[in-house]
């Protein structure tokens, strides 16, 4: 009883949790396929792939992606190299200094990106000037500055990843290599680097993603090379189109693809390792006969499903022409708009008629009542009777508004003025 309640609440919690995590992504992805000019899911108009086309025709976005890739590659190389050096230093340094050194090297993670961006800009500008170089020198190049600026803190992330692996390294391995005649460089290249390879790969991926999504440091340093995030931020200022949703969808799809690929590979390795110890992969996977790569490997199956789905979508996209649907929607919209205009006209017509009728009524009544009804906020201040002799001068200014919808109510209505004459 209690147990089942607990289980249900766990499921409810999980559903809410995943909705919270993935909901925005799903909605954003869906909006990329709606033909509505503003990214939205409802009302659903037409299934369209036009936003992808538009995305790839947007030179600024494409240029931003290109810059992001260049800067990402630069940051990966610089950050991983610095991170590895920092991690190696941490294991070599005199133990009493270790804590201090660690704090210093971790500090950039804690410093706001904005500060790093500004300080990078200021620092390299200083150096540029000290060297007497112009504004177009390499040191003030946007790509160079962005790579340097991002690396200041991304290198710290890399170091954390690399240190974790390095702590499991047995220094005796390097000593063994030296003992067998290797130089320090050879021992590093042939023994330590291969050992660090998985961690270096992780650090590189981490560095690339951190660089790709970075905004607050880049915003100070990009110069003439705006990255994708910068371009997106600038675009949002002028209103966004579903082309951005399309981009988001592509990024999500790529992420899922590589995550599955990685998972499938790892699982495969695990299975192979297990197989070498005892049985064959097929035996371990169970009864269902699948091609060896898929056996017992859920991730691989998902990967293939995912790839097939992608190919299908792309295939449909090239063959599918939403023109008819869009035309329909347009037509529908036009009809709707027309209807609304008609309705509006009708309403106005009715109002006009109503007013005319009222006026006629008023005209009749004015003979008997010298004071017209006045709904103005100004009360009777400007009422012709109160103004008395001044009324004639007023009338020349207030001739222009013919209808009675002014804030002054019926005060300046020529009809009401006329009554005095």
């Amino acid at each position: 009883m209690n147990n089942s309640f607990l289980r249900v609440s766990i499921w409810v919690y999980l559903v809410i949790f995943f909705l919270y995590l993935l909901g925005p992504l799903v909605i954003m992805s869906v909006t990329a396929f709606n033909s509505s000019a503003f990214p939205r899911m409802t009302p659903w108009e037409c299934l369209t792939f036009q936003w992808f086309g538009e995305l790839f025709q947007d030179q600024r976005i494409l240029n931003g992606i290109k810059n992001s890739l260049i800067i990402g590659a630069g940051t990966v190389i610089l950050s991983v190299a610095m991170g590895l050096a920092g991690a190696l230093m941490l294991t070599q340094i005199w133990p009493k200094l270790r804590a201090t050194y660690y704090t210093i090297i971790i500090a950039p993670i804690l410093i706001p990106g904005v500060v790093l961006g500004i300080s990078t800009l200021v620092f390299w500008d200083r150096i540029n000037r000290m060297l007497g170089l112009g504004a177009d020198s390499f040191l003030s190049n946007g790509i160079f500055l962005t790579v340097i600026g991002q690396s200041t803190f991304i290198a710290s992330y890399c170091m954390l990843v690399l240190v974790a692996r390095l702590q499991r390294y047995d220094v005796a391995l390097t000593e063994a290599a030296l003992d067998l005649g290797a130089t320090h460089a050879q021992a590093f290249r042939k023994i330590l680097l291969p050992f660090m390879r998985p961690a270096i790969a992780s650090a590189a991926v981490l560095a690339f993603l951190a660089s790709f999504e970075n905004y607050n440091t880049t915003t100070f340093t990009f110069g003439e090379y705006p990255t994708l995030t910068i371009e997106l931020a600038q675009k949002v200022r002028y209103g966004i189109t579903p082309a951005i949703s399309a981009l988001a969808f592509i990024i999500v799809a790529l992420t899922v693809f590589f995550a599955l690929l990685n998972e499938a590979k790892l699982k495969r390795q695990e299975l192979v390792a297990a197989a070498r110890k005892s049985a064959t992969v097929e035996e371990l996977a169970g009864k269902i006969k699948l091609p060896s790569f898929f056996a017992g490997n859920m991730a691989a199956v998902l990967l293939v499903v995912f790839a097939v789905a992608t190919i299908t979508v792309v295939g449909t996209a090239t063959a599918y022409n939403p023109g008819q649907c869009i035309a329909n929607v347009k037509e529908q919209k036009r009809v709707e708009a027309e209807q609304r205009i008609q309705e509006l006209r009708k309403q106005r017509e009715e109002q006009r008629k109503k007013r005319e009728a009222e006026e006629v009524e008023q005209g009749g009544a004015q003979q008997s009542t010298p004071k017209p009804s006045n709904n103005s906020g100004f009360g009777n201040v400007f009422a012709p009777n109160t103004l008395g002799g001044d009324a004639e001068e007023e009338s020349s200014d207030t001739e222009t508004p013919p209808s009675n919808n002014g804030g002054f109510g019926g005060v300046f209505d020529p009809n009401s003025l006329q009554t005095d004459q």
Partner: protein, 370 residues
Amino acid sequence: MSAGVGVDLENLWIRFGDFVAVRDANVNINGGDFFSFLGPSGCGKTTILRAVSGFLEPSEGKVLIGGKDMRGIGPNKRPTALIFQNLALFPLMKVWENITFSLEISGASAKERRKRADELLDMIALPDQGDKLPSELSGGQRQRVAIARALCAEPDVLLLDEPLSALDLKLRQHMRTELREIQKRVGITFIYITHDQGEALTMSDNIAVMRAGVIDQIADGKTIYNDPNTAFAASFVGENNVFRGKIKQIMGNEALISTNRSGELVARISTANQGKLAVGDDAMMFIRPEAFAIAADGVSGDHFVTARVNHEEFEGNVFNIFTEGDGGKEIKVSLPNLGQSFDDHTGQNITLEYETRNAVLVPAGELAAE
């Protein structure tokens, strides 16, 4: 077989800050010898090995390999190969790549390396295992791969840092004979570090007994066992019963000691201490458990000890009697199992007898911790 390359340590001091790890070590190791450093953990034996292999520079003194001073020469330039305590096989390389790592460094072709690896794998009795990873081998196999890897570098001196300590007893005993055989076959100098006196005694031509950075004695196994220089050497190598006392009388190479608890006993002064001891000096007499025999009741003299039997145990090859002498002195007696019947002596008083040549007298000194 070549004579091999000798290793000499001359006035070697190694300090870490204020701590002296090795104090004035002087050792001559003959080429082609199997030489062991024997001592408890932390006595500085691994430090000496690292100084020989080049990972440590001595604070003072010299390391000579083949008569050549090794100061300033890095581990990769020395004609030594070290087998690490944890073996340090390269985990990501296959067995054959591990073995021929030194050839890869010297730029040999893969084909050449493979051929040499197969030869060495045959030698260590692991044919067709070259394509496995070290993690797929058993402890003893890994051990042999480490030896093959070191031998592949064709060193003049092979250094072994307690390589058998991680193996189980059976395998350890098997590897002892195997190591000794390999050493005889390749004919190079082996320097072996161990805290296991059994390993040192069975394999070595010569043994250096170390205590807290100091070498107490360098001799062959028999000498160290039968004729120790110091109280430490006597108590560390093998089991021993110690009798403390003062020298009462010296008669040539023998001395009469008035022991604290067991009366006056006669002993042989150990070779290294002959002529150095004087009447009235504090001394220690050591008698091995197996050197005792049970004497007839009631006899007494300067080579008889009386004791009360505390308990007894049967170990298979020997029958151990744990006795308590006068004043609570514990004495262990091991009688070889020759098929005779053992009477239960528990609670009785027995008289123990020894021959003077089996009682060794050394100056009083520090004993090995139990």
